[in-house]
Symmetry: C2
Subunit: 620 residues, 2 copies
């Protein structure tokens, strides 16, 4: 991986920062956040502005350019990658280390007195704007909205915004019509005396309307906004996409239904002026709901007195709790996914000794096998297919220049997943195809203990995910080890593989309490820089538990694994497991054999079946 040469780009950007074509007064610093106008985690090529300016293409990072400095903040997953992708015009700011200044403190430390800092108000969230603005003001600086994006101004061959075909989802996949969802949303609005709701997150809009797109790779979403009133539904989307009969039918665009369920469509870009119009006609006590993670630009359209910012929208919460149809779909998707992975691992066992399988070809094979499964749409994120030292790069993605060959001597870590029309998968398995060392087995076993501790945990209703995070680390901590990422994230149903508002992380972002029907990942790991990486990840469903007692009738919860792919027994030092943990492994493998075995049988995949039977032998 060679760094992007950014001398000329930085020169041009700094020139733009002084150019009165874009701004009234020169600015002394320009912030380039990671996201798009919807604060998406994965973004379309036209929105990869931070990558364009600094070269780093990880999923999280913020670049700031001043007249003299250029710095980029990212977290532990990306320290190595960022240091390889950025040239020495850039300073890598390692978030989470004690000595690393926050963006605010760094700006205050480098800026001349009374500086002006600019940012595109569409790609900074309202809450981030507020914090940054306050911090800068306290030091005598100011944050200003620069309407023209200065990266776009210097980006000559910037791709156009995608506008892919829309896919409509019927009741068999969604469990609820979009009209049902609209009614539920409005009843929540009525309950909280809210007149209007502005939807800006792409997965929320896709979920609400039971529509999918492919505007952003790996994420079946489409660029849109929605504004919902008690009698009005406005959908802002590239109008060309609505020409398709199935879509018109689905949204009932030509068959006027009840007035309050008729959808008015308008161009994507018109959301700003339409929201202005809505706000102009607000009564004195009327309130508008908008996520505090929505763009600053759109948020500020709503006069402060009418704005009711919320950390999580009703849609975000409703989407997180899967209904019976969605749960059934997720289970089916995970069975198909497991079939593909069993085939892959059986194939790898045969092929690796020949020395012809690489990280890239293994990932390609996994994709090929998944694509043979029913209702396969695409991958749910770029496969992390990594051998030996590459496994220690937490969000590694194999490239021709880093591509290693799988061998009998190094650990192989595959973190991959797919989008099927019935559900989204995300699974990590760590394997050794030769003889793992005692140390590799020891650390793998600690990670497994952590995985089991979360998966088997019983906890009261209303518990927030962050309280479970240390269960995953306990065994590692006892040996002085740790991993520098969270333990789990919410998973969408044929939607984004990362979704809020629940998760399992030491970071105590305001996560919502876990409840039955939520789906999260359980993925502790251990990474030895320069040597290997270990991660064991299942997607798990929150289900009611029935322990011996029921304190204050609160009820208890636990997890049910949806992922059913064997965990390599060869990597386990069984002496380090308790009897309870051994029982868990054996019961898990029994389920894998039973459920995936039946499907392999049905699909007539004999070699994978043999592999599954062998890999699910009980451990002693």
């Amino acid at each position: 991986m060679s760094p992007k040469i950014t001398v000329e780009l930085l020169r041009q950007l700094r020139q733009a920062m002084r150019n009165t074509k874009y701004i009234a007064e020169p600015i002394q610093a320009y912030i380039v956040p990671s996201g798009d106008a919807h604060q998406s985690e994965y973004i379309a090529p036209c929105d990869c502005r931070r990558e364009f300016i600094c070269g780093f293409n990880g999923s999280a990072g913020t670049a700031i350019v001043t007249e003299k400095h250029a710095a980029m903040w990212t977290d532990g997953r990306y320290f190595l990658q960022a240091s390889q992708q950025m040239d020495n015009n850039w300073t890598l700011m390692k978030m989470g280390l004690k000595e690393t200044l926050s963006q605010e403190d760094w700006l205050i430390s480098v800026l001349p007195d009374n500086s002006t800092v600019g940012v595109d108000p569409w790609i900074i969230a309202a809450d981030q704007w507020k914090n940054m603005s306050k911090a800068l003001a306290s030091a005598g600086h100011s944050l200003v909205a620069v309407q023209d994006n200065l990266i776009d101004a210097i980006w000559r061959d910037r791709p156009t915004r995608p506008s892919t075909q829309l896919l409509t989802l019927g009741l068999g996949f969604t469990g609820l019509t979009w009209q049902d969802k609209m009614t539920a949303l409005r009843s929540k609005m009525a309950e909280r005396k809210i007149s209007w709701f502005v939807a800006t997150a792409l997965d929320e809009i896709a979920w609400l309307f039971n529509l999918r797109g492919s505007d952003i790779e790996y994420n079946p979403v489409f660029f849109a906004y929605a504004i919902v009133g008690m009698n009005t539904i406005r959908l802002f989307v590239d109008i060309k996409r609505l020409a398709v009969p199935t879509v018109r039918e689905h949204l009932q665009l030509d068959t006027p239904s009840k007035a309050e369920l008729s959808v008015q469509t308008a161009p994507y870009e018109s959301v700003f002026t339409e929201l202005q119009a809505v706000c102009a006609s607000l009564g004195p006590k009327e309130k508008v709901w908008i996520s505090d993670k929505a763009s600053c630009a759109l948020t500020q359209v709503i006069p402060k007195a009418h704005r009711s910012p919320i950390p999580y929208t009703h849609l975000c919460l409703a989407k997180a709790v899967k209904n019976a149809t969605e749960i059934q779909g997720m289970k089916m998707a995970h069975i198909k996914d497991a079939v593909a992975l069993c085939e892959l691992f059986a194939w790898l066992e045969k092929e690796i000794p020949k020395g012809t399988v690489t990280e890239i070809s293994a990932a390609d094979k996994a994709e090929e096998l998944r694509s043979q499964q029913k209702d396969f749409v695409g991958l749910s994120f770029p496969s992390i297919s990594s051998v030996g030292p590459n496994g220690a790069i937490i969000h590694y993605r194999p490239l021709p220049e880093t591509n290693r060959t799988l061998s009998l001597n190094e650990i192989y870590l595959l973190d991959s997943g797919a989008q099927y029309i019935d559900g989204t998968t995300d699974v990590t398995r760590t394997m050794h195809f030769g003889s793992p060392s005692a140390y590799e087995k020891e650390t793998f076993t600690y990670v497994l203990k952590g995985h089991i501790a979360v998966s088997a945990a019983i906890f009261p209703n209303g518990t927030k995910g962050h309280l479970l995070d240390s269960f995953a680390r306990q065994a590692l901590w006892e040996s002085g080890l740790d991993y520098l990422h969270g333990t789990g994230h919410g998973v969408g149903c044929f939607l984004n593989v990362h979704e809020g508002p629940c998760g399992i992380s030491y970071k105590t972002f305001a996560d919502e309490p876990l409840e039955a029907g939520m789906i999260v990942s359980d993925e502790p790991g251990y990474y030895e820089d320069g040597l290997f990486g270990i991660r064991i990840e299942n997607v798990v469903l929150v289900v009611p538990a029935k322990p011996k007692y029921n304190y204050r009738n609160k009820g208890s919860l636990t997890f049910e694994p949806l992922t059913l792919v064997p965990i390599q027994a060869k990597m386990v030092n069984t002496d380090l497991l308790t009897q309870k943990e051994r029982d868990w492994v054996n019961e898990y493998h029994r389920q894998c054999r039973e459920t995936i075995g039946a499907e392999l049988e049905r699909q007539g995949r004999k070699e994978a079946m043999d592999w599954l039977i062998r890999e699910t032998q009980p451990i002693a």
Copy 2:
């Protein structure tokens, strides 16, 4: 317990709310917060204004009186007590219940349009003022500072503010001179470019100056403020207290030392005008540090542009990390405390069968035994001495009308502690003097497992306490049980028994990471309403751990128990313990026997020694 009759008091208060002697315009509501001008948790009698007006004397609660209504907010610990202590002029507002309005929302719901709400700006914290003021403004009302306290205006026999004798602490107790502490504070100020620091928390001031008082029961503090500049130290305190030669000597009031270490003293009340004078002479870039929990009155003296509010002051952080001398003192205090408790439990065993020991007499006996120990000053909080169902009332305090007799049939829970000149203690033991039931033993054992899980936890440097909270609950959760309080709080060294900024709680208040030298309590529990309460509490010291590996050279921490009082083996169902847990109990009891045994021997306390030997037999 009979309620306080408040008809006449409320009439007088409402009259004062219209009296132009105190306010320019009548106010429609008056807020009476719980605290004093230093936002102390425990307060002096002269500051018990909320109790005076409504009768409720718990440690937390806010009263609000409008022209027509009177309401008082408190939390779950106090619902029963408050309902018994208040007459029917008052509405009890049960915090934490979904249907209970917040103070702001309640005010908005009952006030006429454009109302004015008053509060004494000295006893409301700046951050609370800000929130309340904002909420009221959003509904068209306003919050105003009423300089004369209206409760004081109607409180005829209000006690005077205590001004007890000051005690000076030498290096042998503090490990650092106050001059050393001042220098460290100033170096932190210089690092953050802060010109002045205003100290308002009483324990911080006591710690900084190595002085103690007894103005507030259980808390060895004295009423004072301090303002520290880079060359100035101002101490605001009742001047009479400084007449004592030892105090003058300690503060070097008569022997001018280096100019920047000479202490200027001024009357307690003059802090306001002195701070005004300091602020009037501030340069344009000068900043003043003040805790965001300081009083609104004092905070607002500092012009906003110069104000640098912080959640935790440097003193709060520095005080939390005990130095070697303080640690040694805390260890000594805990040894003496354990001697007293061993004697108490040996005595109880003999006396309980006679049927003459009550909750009150047991607590008195504990105090008597503690008072025989060297450098005993007083209790560190009111003893929670509770039998059977009273044990389920988490913050129970025995009163003549609730006093139960200790027996062979009910569980006894004693949560108590003392102030010694060398340290502060806080310990809970739960005992059965007859034959505990299988269920009592089972739940006790879960609590013990939780206690051990925290105490024996190994975790990376930089871990925040809230991440350890679920370790304490894991065994309870697995059986569907839980407890509704945090697991631990910081403990001062001959200072407040509850101190920030660290703790172990599911509530993720912004706790600071644990570091070696911090001292916290480890006190999981289980409470069965109407039957019994169980809590096992040790005070523990954060110490470096040396596990097998050292990931990224981060280092690891664990806890060392300072409390060394046997945990009753009779209450343990050993079948539910793992071998590791049994080893922990045996090793803990070995330490108790070795350390406390030696001291009992030295003090010639034979009966307690016999009890200790018996109670520290290894369990199988």
